[in-house]
Symmetry: D4
Subunit: 251 residues, 8 copies
C-alpha cells in the first residue's frame, strides 16, 4: 500500500486516523518515497549495473550476472579474476573480459559518451589501475583520454601532452612509488585532479602508503585523493564531475 492509497482510505473512512498514523511510522523509508535516498543508484541507470567481483563465490557471481542479463541492462564487474570470467562466460557467452583492468563487461547497448576525462599514469605498472578508471568512466558514458607513462622522473614526456590534458573536464592522475604526478599536473591545469595512489613499488613504499601521503600533502591546489588502487571510485567520481561540466542531467 502506498501513501496515496493510505491517505485515500483515511479520507474515505476506510481507515481510522490512529491506524494510519501507526502505519506511516512503520513503513520502510523507501516506501515513503525519499527519492534522494536512492539517487546514487540512478547515476548508473540507463548505463547498467556494477558488481564488485572479488571475494564472491563463482556460483553467487554467476547468479547476479544472470539476473542482470534477464533485465537486459549493461553490467560492469570489477576486480574479477580470469577464473571467475571463465565460469561466468561458460553460461553467458556475451561476457567480455579485460585481464589488464580485471573487468568483466556485458554490454547490450553502448552508452552515448559525453565530455572528457583525462586518465594519466606515472609508469607502465600503474596502467591496470588506470584502465579500471578509464573503463569505469566509459561504462558510465564519459569520453576518456589515456595519457600513460608520463611520470615525473622524465617530466618532459608529461609536458608534451599538457595541451590535450588541459582540455578535459577533469583529470585522474594514477601513480605509485613516489606518487608525485597529481601534484605536478594540478600545478599546470585549472580543473579538478583526482589522485589515485597505487600499491606499485617496494620497500618503504609500504603497499601504496608512500604515494597516498604524497598526494594528500601536495602543495598544488585542486587535488583530492581516493583509496589506494581504487580505480573504480575515481572513474565514478570523474564521471560525476564530467556530467556536471557537461550540464548532463538525463537521469
Amino acid at each position: 500500500m502506498d501513501i496515496q492509497e493510505l491517505l485515500r482510505k483515511v479520507k474515505s473512512d476506510e481507515m481510522d486516523i490512529a491506524a494510519a498514523e501507526n502505519m506511516l511510522k512503520k513503513l520502510p523509508y523507501e516506501d515513503l518515497g525519499f527519492a534522494k535516498l536512492d539517487h546514487h543508484r540512478k547515476l548508473r541507470s540507463g548505463f547498467g549495473e556494477v558488481i564488485y567481483c572479488s571475494g564472491k563465490s563463482d556460483e553467487h557471481l554467476l547468479m547476479i550476472f544472470q539476473s542482470f542479463m534477464e533485465k537486459g541492462v549493461n553490467v560492469l564487474g570489477t576486480r574479477a579474476s580470469m577464473a571467475q570470467y571463465k565460469f561466468v562466460s561458460a553460461v553467458i557467452p556475451e561476457a567480455e573480459y579485460d585481464p589488464m583492468s580485471r573487468i568483466i563487461k556485458i554490454i547490450h547497448s553502448e552508452p552515448e559518451k559525453i565530455g572528457c576525462i583525462a586518465v594519466c599514469t606515472g609508469g607502465t605498472s600503474d596502467i591496470p589501475v588506470a584502465e579500471e578508471v578509464a573503463q569505469t568512466a566509459e561504462f558510465f558514458g564519459s569520453n576518456v583520454l589515456r595519457v600513460f607513462d608520463v611520470g615525473v622522473a622524465g617530466i618532459h614526456r608529461l609536458f608534451s601532452k599538457m595541451d590535450v590534458i588541459s582540455q578535459a573536464n577533469c583529470i585522474v592522475a594514477v601513480a605509485g612509488m613516489e606518487g608525485a604526478l597529481p601534484g605536478v599536473i594540478a600545478g599546470m591545469v585549472d580543473k579538478p585532479v583526482i589522485a589515485v595512489p597505487t600499491s606499485v613499488g617496494y620497500g618503504s613504499n609500504f603497499q601504496g602508503l608512500s604515494a597516498l601521503l604524497t598526494m594528500l600533502n601536495s602543495c598544488a591546489e585542486g587535488i583530492s585523493v581516493v583509496n589506494i588502487d581504487n580505480g573504480f571510485g575515481a572513474g565514478y567520481l570523474g564521471t560525476q564531475i564530467n556530467r556536471l561540466a557537461e550540464g548532463y542531467n538525463g537521469r
Copy 2:
C-alpha cells in the same frame, strides 16, 4: 626579447639561424608563453590573491599584504593568528579577521557569487575547518550553504537537511573523530563529495588519522579526500567543481 621579436630578427637577417636556435633552447619556459603553466593562478584572478600566513614573520606578511593593497585586488590570508591580524590591521585598517576560521580578508569589491556548495560538519568542533572551506569558496565566488553539526551519532539531524543539501553542485563534508559523515552523505546524493578529515578527537584518533582512514575507505561512491584540516584546499576544489557545473569560464 620575446619569441616574436626573435623570429622577426631571423626573418630580417639581423640574427642568424644558429644563434636563434641557441637562444630558443635557453629561454626560460615562461617566456615561451606556455600559458597553461600558470592557469591555476588565473582561477583567482578577478577574485583576489591568497596568502598562507602560518609561519610567516609579521614584517614579511605585512609587506605581502601591502603589495596586494596597492594593486587593489582582494586578498585572502589563511591560518592567520590574532597577533598577525593586529600587526597587519595597524597599518591596513581595511583588513578584517574571523577568529573562527583564522582568515584575514581584504575585500575591495565583493565577487559575484554563482552556483552552490554545501558545507556540512559532523560536530561543532569541526566548524573552524568548515568556515575555512566556506569563506574560501565565497572568496572565489561560490554561494555556500552551511549545514553544521549533523554527524552520524544523531543521524536524523542530517536527514532533515538532505533536501537542501542535495541541491548543491557539490558537498564538502567536514568531520573529525570517526569521520563517517562523508560516506553517509555520499550514499544519499549523486554529486561529488569532498571529504575533509579534521584533527578533532583524542586517543586513538591520532590527530585525524582515524577520520582520514575512514574517509579513504568509504564504501559509498563519489567521495574523495583532502589532507587533515585542509579547509582551504576543499574550498578551492569545491569552487572548481561548482564553476564547471555552472558553465563558468569567465577567466
Copy 3:
C-alpha cells in the same frame, strides 16, 4: 502540525491527498515520531544532561549550563578545566567541580542508584580516568565500587578484592602502560569487562597505543574496549549494562 492533525485534515477534507502526501515526505524525520531515533537521549532523561566542555569557549559553555539550569535538570560537564569551572561558578554557584576527574556537576536532585559497577585501575595514575567512569555512572544512577591500584605488577592486591569485584553487574578496568589488568580480571569473572586504555606511560607506550593493543588482543573472553582515556564512554556503557541486569526500564 503533527501527523494526527494532518490525517484529521485529510479526513475532514481540509487538505487534499496530494498536499498531504507532499507534506509527509518533507517533514523532518523527528516530526514523523521515530521515537527510537532519540532513544539515546532518553537514557539521560530523569538524570540530567551531559556537556563535553573541552574546547568550548567560556561564554558558550556558561550559556549551555544556564539553559539547563532553567529547566531544573541535573547537568554533567566532562573534561572541564579549572578555569572553565571558575567562569561558570561565578554565575552559577550551585556548580561543583572535581579537579581529579575534571567534571563540573550541577545536581538538583540526587538520582536513585541501582545495581553495581566495579571500577578498577592498574595504578594511581589511572585514577583520573577511572573517576570520570565512576562519576558518569553515578550521575546516570549506578552504584559504583571503586577498586584502585590493583595492577598486575603486584597481582595479589587484585586477588584480595576479587570477591567484591565479582559481585558487580559489570567491571570497568582502567589501565595504562602495559594494560594487562582487564585481561586478568576477565579471566576470573563471568561478567562483561569494559577495558579503558589510558595514555599513562612513556616511550614505546605511544600515548596509550600499547595499552589499547594489549586490551584488544586479550586472550580472555568477555572483554571489549573503548577509546584511550574515554572514561565517559565506559561509564555510559557500564550504566546501560547495569540497567539491563537490574531489569531497569524506567525510561
Copy 4:
C-alpha cells in the same frame, strides 16, 4: 589432601600447627577452592566447550574432540578449515561444519535459547565474521536476529530494520572498510553495541585498522570494540549481556 582433611588432622593432633601452616602456603591456589577463579568456564557449562582450531594439528584436534565426545558435551570449534573438518568427521560423523563461519559443531542436546542479540553487518563480505558471532551466541543459548548488508552507504536499508533491531538486548555490529555502522546504530538505540571491525577492504584499510579506529573513535555513546575479525569474542560477550538482561543465572 584437601583443606577440610588438613584442618581435621590439626584438630585431631595428627598434624602439628607448623606443618599445617606450611602446607597451606604450598598448596596450589585451585586447591584452596577459589571457585571464582574458574567462573568463566562455568559460562559454558551446560552448553558445551569451545576449541580454537586454527593452527592445531589434525591429530591433536581430533583428540580434543574425542575427549569431549566421551563426556557427551556440546562442542564448538572455531576457525576450523574444511580439511580439519574432514579429518575430524571421518572419525566423528556427528560433527557438522559451516564453511561460511568456519565452525565445527557437535551438538548432543540443543541449548534452550533466551533473549535476543541482533547481529548486523555493513556488507555481504562481513557475513563470515557475523556468522561466527551468531553461531557462537546460539551455541551459548542466545536467540539471534540476523540483519545483514545494512551498511551506511545505503543507509535506508538499515532504517527499515531499526524497529526490530532495537528490540534486542544488545547489538553486535560487524563492518569492514570504513566501519561506520556501529556508530550509526548506537546513535539510534539505547542498548549496548559491540563493534566488530573486519579485515574486509583494501589499500589504506590496512587489514582492518581503518575500521578499528573508526569504531574506537565513534562519537555515539554505548559502543565498545573487540579485535579485528573476532566474531567469537563478540558472540561470547553478547551472550553475557543477554543473560544479564534476561536475569539468567542458571550456572
Copy 5:
C-alpha cells in the same frame, strides 16, 4: 588473625573446621604468607624504597617521603622535577637532588656495594638516562663503571675502554639516534647487555622508536631491551644480574 592463630583455635576447638575453612578461603592472599608474591619488594629492603615522582602532586609526594623518613629507610625518587625537589626539601632538608638524572635521594646509611655494572652511552645527550641507570644500581648496592660518549660514529673511543668494560658482570648500553652501541658491545663481550634506547634525536627518530627497533633487531647475541628512556628499569635489572653473579642472597 594470622594462620597460626587460626590453626591453634581449630586445634583447641575454639573454632570449628567449617568456619576455619571458610576463613582460609576469604583471607587476602598476603595474609596467607605467600612470601614470593612480595619478593620483588625485598630486593629493595635493606637498601630503601623507590618512588616514581612524575605526575604526583607536591603534597602527595611529600607525604610519601615523610612516611619513609619516619621508618628511617633510604629512599630513591625517580623522574622528579626541580620544583618537586624544592617542595620536598623545604620540609626534609636531608633530601638531595641530581638535576641530570632527575633523582631525589634520601640516604640514611650508604648501602654496601658489590660486583660491577658497566653503564655506557653513545653520546653526551644520553647521559641523563645513563645517570638514572647508574644511580639506581648504586642505590641498590651495585658498583658502577661509567663509560660515556663512546658511540659507534667514533668507534675507537669505545675500543680503548673494552678491557675495563668486559670486567663488569653485565653492561647497560644507553643510546639514542641510531642506537647501534649495544649491538657492537655485545659482539665483543660474553656478558648480558641491557640495551636502553633513548628519545634523543629528531626527524625519523620518532622519539626513540628508531633506536628501539635497532636494538631489538641486533644480530649480536646476549642483548635484551627495556622501554625507551627507562633508566630505572635497566638499573634494577642490572642489579638483579649483578647480585646473581656475586652469589648475593642477603635478602
Copy 6:
C-alpha cells in the same frame, strides 16, 4: 708472523723499527690478540656451534654441517625446515630434527648441564618459540624447566607453578596476543625475566607488535625484551645469566 716473532726480530736486528711499526699498524685486529673481540664465540666452545638455517641453500647448509662434523663439535641449526633436514640427514644420518622448534641438532657428546632456566608460555601456540628457547639453553649447558600454557586468561594455572618457577636463576616468558605473562611473573619473582613476544594472534596483534609493546611497557621491574619470535636469543641470554649465577667460567 705473530707479534712475539715480530718483537723478536726487532730485538735481534732482523727487522728495523720503522718496518716493525708499519707492520703493527697494518695487522688485522684479531692478529693483535684482542682476545675479547671473540669472546662471544667462546661461550659456545665446548658446547658446539650454531647455524641460522633459514634462507640458506640446501647445498650451502650441508657444507657447513659437514665442516663442523669433521671437527667433531656439537652443532645447533635454528629455523630449519623439514626439507632442509631431509637434505642434510641424507648425508649426515647423525642429524636429529625437532619439527616443533625447527631445530636440527648433531650431538657428539651431551654437554653437562648446570643451574636452571624456567621457560614459560602463555598458550600452547607459543610452544614452538619456547622450545627454541629451551633447546638452545640446553645445548649451551643449562637445565631447563618447562612451564607451558600458563597465560593470564586463566591465571590460577600460573600460580600453582610459581614455587618451582621462582627456584630458577632466570625466567624466560614467551607470549603472543596480549603478551601480559612476563609482567605478571616479574611481579612475583626476584629474578631476571626475559620476555619473548611471539607473532601468535591476529587482527590488531600486527604480527607480534601488540605483545612486544605490552612487554616493553610492563610496570613490573626486572623485565627486558628480545625481538618477536627470537627464541634463540632468549635461550642464549638466559644461559649467560644462568652461568653468572652458577659462577661458571669454564671457558
Copy 7:
C-alpha cells in the same frame, strides 16, 4: 620539422612569424632540444640500457630485450625471475643470468672500468642486494671492491678490511636487521657512504623498516640512504660519484 628547418623557413619567407611562434609553443619539449632533460639517459649510453623486469609479462619483456638486441647495446635487466630468464634466453641465447642478484645481462662489449666503489654487507643474507649494487656499478663502468659479511656483531672482521675500503671513491654499505654497518663505516672513512637497508630480518624488523630508520638516524657524517633493497639505485648513484671523482665526462 626541427627548429633549424623552421627558422630557415621563417628566414626564407616560407612561413610567417605568427605561424612559427605558434608551432614553437606546441612542439613537444624534447623537440626543443632541452638536452639536459634527458641527461640521465646519457649516463647509460655507451654502456647499455636498463630494464626493470619485475611485474612485466614474458612476452613484453622479450620484446624489449629484442629491440635492444637489434641496436647492439648492452642491456641490464634487474629483478628478473629464473622463469623470465628462461623465456628470454630461449630466443636470445646471449642472455646471461645471475640467480643471486636476479640480473639478466646481455653484454656486447665489456665497458671499460674506472675508479672504485666498495660494496660492503653486514651479513651473508644481504649479498643478493649487494650483488645488485655491484653488478649495476660494473655495468656502468665502475670497478667494484666486494667486502661481504663484515657486520657490527663481529666488528673485528670489518676493521681488518678498512685499509682497502678507505681507498674507494665511495662506499655502499648494505645491511638488514639492525642496519648499523653504514654508521660504523662512515665514522672511519672520509668518503660518501651510500646506505642500503635490506628487508633481511624478522619480527620487529618490519621488512626493513628497522634498518632504514637506523641508517637515517646515524650520528656519523657523510651517510645518505636509498630505499629498502634498492641495490640498483645505490649502484647507479655510486657510479655517479665514482665518475665525478675520476673526472670522467665521456658522455
Copy 8:
C-alpha cells in the same frame, strides 16, 4: 710512550718481548696510529670545528666555544637558539648568528671555496633547513648556488633555473609537504641529488614522514636521502662529493 719508543726499548733490551707484547695489546687504538679511524675529523681541519648546540647548557656551550677560540680555528655551531647566541656572544663578541639557519659562526680566516653545490627548496618554509645546508657547505669550503622556492606545484619556476643547477657538482634538494622536488630534479640532471625532507606541513604530513617516504620511493635515479630536517648532514655530504669532483685532497 709511543710505538717507536717501545720498539726502540725492545731493540735496546730495556724492555723484554713479553712486556712489549702485553703493552701493545693494551694501548688504546688511537695510540696505535690507525690514522683512518680519525679521518672524518680531518675533513674539517683547516676549516674549523662543528658543535651541535641544541640541548647543551649555556655554560657548557660557552666553554666549548672558548676552547676552540684559543686554538684560533673556525667554529660552526648548529641548531643554536638566539638565547644561546646571546650568552656566547657576551663573552666572545666575534661570534655571528644567523637566526634563519640557527647557526653560530666564529670565522678567523675565510676558507677558500671550490666547485659548486646547488641548494634548492620547494617552498619558502624550507629555507631554514636549506640555509643550514648552504652555510655548512660554505663553512667547509664549497661554493653554493641557492635556488629557493622552485617546488613542483609551479614547476616552470624550476625549469627556468635548470641550466645553472645542472652546472653544480651535486644538488641538495630540500622539500617538505609532498617532497616531490628531488625526484623531478634527478630526472633532469646527471649529478648526485641529496634529498632532505623537512618537517614543514601539517595533517597527514606527520612531521616530515610524508616527504621522507616520497623521496625514498622516487622513481628517478641518482637520489639518496638524509634524515628529516638534517641540513648539516646534507651540507657535509655535499662537500664530500664536491671535493671528490674537484679532485681536492688537501687534507
